[in-house]
């Protein structure tokens, strides 16, 4: 087990604040031969270690064709991610992986793709978008429906124009509510009480005083750009399923890949089935507690499935009737 579960050191090459509680880390394994031997499939995850704090499974959010570095988009939600947010560029973390079964890339190739994401759920789908950008000839069209709680929480705002400008890609956005104004974001960022208080902490933001999270000015700027993006890309207020009426991808010969809160994926799947999609065309990515990543610790099981080994990506047809999935 020590061989299976011993992380390799990786250097944080770059930290980019993404939202008030989310950071993008560019990592490279410290040992060149480890980095050279490392490849992953879109939808797979790594176990990230902060020694002395613990380990967390986090999906890989970068271009699978890039063999030099890899990225994780990390929302500060627990001990490990909070400790991660206090690190600086040049710091080391432990990484092992990749684990799990990612998106059905063989199946996606040659087909039209409908990509539906909610919040941080866009992170494990971004490698697919990047592969489409790089190998467009291998794919049909890619329609992205992306929803977040507020404009301030939309991820990858600065990449939308590149995505949508691609002739095969169409992007549509939604937010649950429009309250992520620049002013609100300013208090939610690195310093003041906003987001920190809502995460059960006081006064110091979600990751503590020394985090690399975006400060108020950065966030205010970001929200301005997010608001522009919303207008540009058909912005609707409501759950991501409000975008179904604008959807242009037809079920015939297409594949759906979706990731977000389980309740969102449930209504996405139900809504699509209602519109004539078959459960066999829909792929979802599930979140479960994972401690080992190698189907031995037992935590991530749903019925007979190990989410770490058999998933996290599953075909909707295979899990819709499992007693413990919300589907």
């Amino acid at each position: 087990m020590e061989k299976l579960m011993t992380p390799r050191p990786a250097v944080i090459e770059r930290i980019r604040p993404e939202t008030a509680d989310t950071l993008v880390y560019t990592l490279r394994f410290a040992e060149p031969e480890v980095q050279q031997g490392y490849t992953f499939q879109p939808g797979q995850f790594n176990e990230i270690s902060i020694f002395g704090v613990g380990e967390a499974p986090i999906s890989i959010s970068s271009d699978p064709n890039n063999r030099e570095t890899f990225e994780h988009t990390v929302r500060v939600v627990g001990n490990v991610t909070r400790a991660l947010a206090r690190l600086r560029e040049g710091s080391h973390v432990g990484v092992r992986g990749p684990y799990g079964k990612g998106w059905p890339m063989e199946r996606l190739r040659g087909h039209n793709i409908l990509l539906i994401a909610g919040g941080i759920g866009l992170a494990p789908l971004r490698p697919v978008i990047q592969d489409v950008l790089r190998h467009a000839d291998l794919y049909g069209s890619l329609e992205i429906l992306y929803g977040a709680r507020s404009p301030a929480e939309l991820l990858y705002v600065d990449e939308y124009d590149v995505w949508d400008a691609h002739p095969q890609i169409r992007l549509r956005l939604s937010v649950d509510r429009m309250d992520g104004t620049a002013a609100a974001a300013a208090t939610a960022g690195g310093g003041a009480a906003g987001a920190g208080a809502s995460n059960g902490m006081t006064g110091v933001g979600v990751a503590g005083p020394a985090s690399a999270l975006a400060g108020p000015q950065v966030m205010a700027e970001r929200v301005k750009r997010a608001t522009v993006a919303l207008e540009r890309y058909g912005g609707q207020v409501g759950p991501v399923t409000v975008l179904f009426d604008q959807m242009v991808t037809s079920p015939r010969g297409a594949v759906v890949i979706t990731c977000g809160p389980e309740i969102m994926m449930k209504y996405v799947a139900l809504g699509l089935v209602e519109r004539g999609w078959s459960p066999e065309q829909i792929f979802v990515s599930l979140e479960r507690r994972m401690e080992c990543g190698v189907a031995q610790c037992g935590h991530c099981q749903i019925g007979p499935l190990y989410v770490c080994k058999d998933g996290p990506v599953f075909c909707y047809k295979d899990i819709r009737y499992l007693p413990e999935a919300v589907f």
């Binding site: 020590e2 050191p9 020694f51 979140e287 507690r289 031995q296 610790c297």
Partner: protein
């Protein structure tokens, strides 16, 4: 190490002195572990005095998983400043004598075979497989079953069929010995015990049949997985959940429960520490909880079902056999007197 198929070999007979001599011989090359009576309990532990090892006692409090995957194990040492993991436990391990498990019950042997699938089936745990590969196993066939046993339901007893190096059956003051692997055969040949008489052999057959007959507790496995899948909302689950304290005692003593948690323990210098794995239990609330507090098994009934469905349905899908061996430990241990034999009978 036990081979997959039984080698047809002659049965030999040892008296008490011969049996103790056998254990002594094994101790020269192996760390011998076996059941020892301590007060009212039977403990699986390393034997120093061969006479202390008992082959006619109820199942050990903790099963053999404790030697293959101890309740707490160190994965590696780390230093925070260097952010490096340094595995070193392998060297300690290599210096130790190989393990001999003597007097384990056939149900526990079956449990080892099931855990082999878990720990070496999809991903290979090196430490586990190294420990397994070097283990010499003497299984003790049960001639007198114990009150909670139901091994015949899962074909895991009262006599072992395969997976051992030697099988011992105690008949009065005689120990009948039979090799089940080439290693066992070699070991037995050196000891040069006399061959069993035809009346010994006849007694062996009678003893197995007698033991089988005494095991009246039974889980009907015919269509069990389907039955469970059709009864996800059966009222019995709420009744079980009302009684179950979710203390995790049953999972601790279960020979096939394998779940563990991973945690970092810092030394007092707050700089160095160890990453460890601890046994845990799917009955514990936090077991499935994810970041931000969401928990797919928040309710006790979900956790109670998880444990039993895993044993009697999911394990089958994952590893091709039921995940229960009928040792009865959970029944003996449960403070709420819950018994899978009774619970599953309610579904019929």
């Amino acid at each position: 190490m036990g081979s997959a198929t039984r080698v047809a070999t002659a049965v030999h007979v040892a008296d008490q002195a011969g049996w103790e001599g056998l254990i002594r011989a094994l101790q020269r090359t192996h760390a011998v572990w076996g059941p020892v009576q301590e007060g009212e309990r039977v403990i699986l532990k390393e034997i120093t005095e061969p006479a202390a090892l008992r082959v006619d006692v109820p199942p050990t409090l903790l099963p053999t998983k404790k030697v293959y995957r101890a309740p707490r194990e160190t994965l590696f040492q780390f230093s925070r400043k260097q952010a490096r993991a340094a595995p070193d436990s392998g060297q300690r391990e290599a210096a130790a004598k190989p393990l001999a498990l003597v007097g384990i019950h056939p149900c526990d042997l079956k449990a080892i075979q099931l855990l082999d699938r878990v720990f070496t089936g999809f991903f290979v745990d090196d430490r586990y497989s190294a420990r397994r590969a070097q283990t010499f196993i003497i299984v003790s066939n049960c001639t007198t079953p114990f009150r909670s046993c139901f091994c015949t339901s899962f074909d895991s007893g009262p006599f072992a069929r395969n997976g051992f190096d030697l099988a011992v059956t105690r008949l009065g003051d005689r120990y009948l010995l039979q090799a089940g692997s080439p290693a066992g055969q070699t070991f037995l040949a050196v000891l040069d015990f006399p061959a069993a008489s035809s009346s010994d052999l006849a007694e062996l057959v009678t003893a197995e049949a007698g033991a089988r007959q005494q095991i009246t507790r039974r889980i009907d496995t015919d269509g069990l997985t389907r039955l469970l899948n059709m009864n996800v909302d059966h009222p019995v689950w709420d009744e079980v959940a009302d009684r179950c304290l979710c203390c995790g005692a049953c999972t601790a003593v279960c020979p096939t429960c394998y779940c563990f948690s991973v945690r970092d323990r810092l030394n007092l210098d707050l700089e160095t520490g160890e990453r460890q794995m601890d046994w845990t239990s799917c009955l514990i609330m936090e077991f499935s909880q994810v970041a931000l507090g969401h928990n797919p098994r928040h309710h006790r009934v979900a956790r109670v079902k998880q444990r039993l469905y895993h044993k009697f349905s999911y394990f089958n899908d994952q590893y091709g056999e039921f995940g229960c061996v009928g040792c009865g430990r959970c029944v003996e241990t449960c403070v709420a007197d819950l018994d899978p034999v009774e619970i599953l009978a309610r579904l019929r």
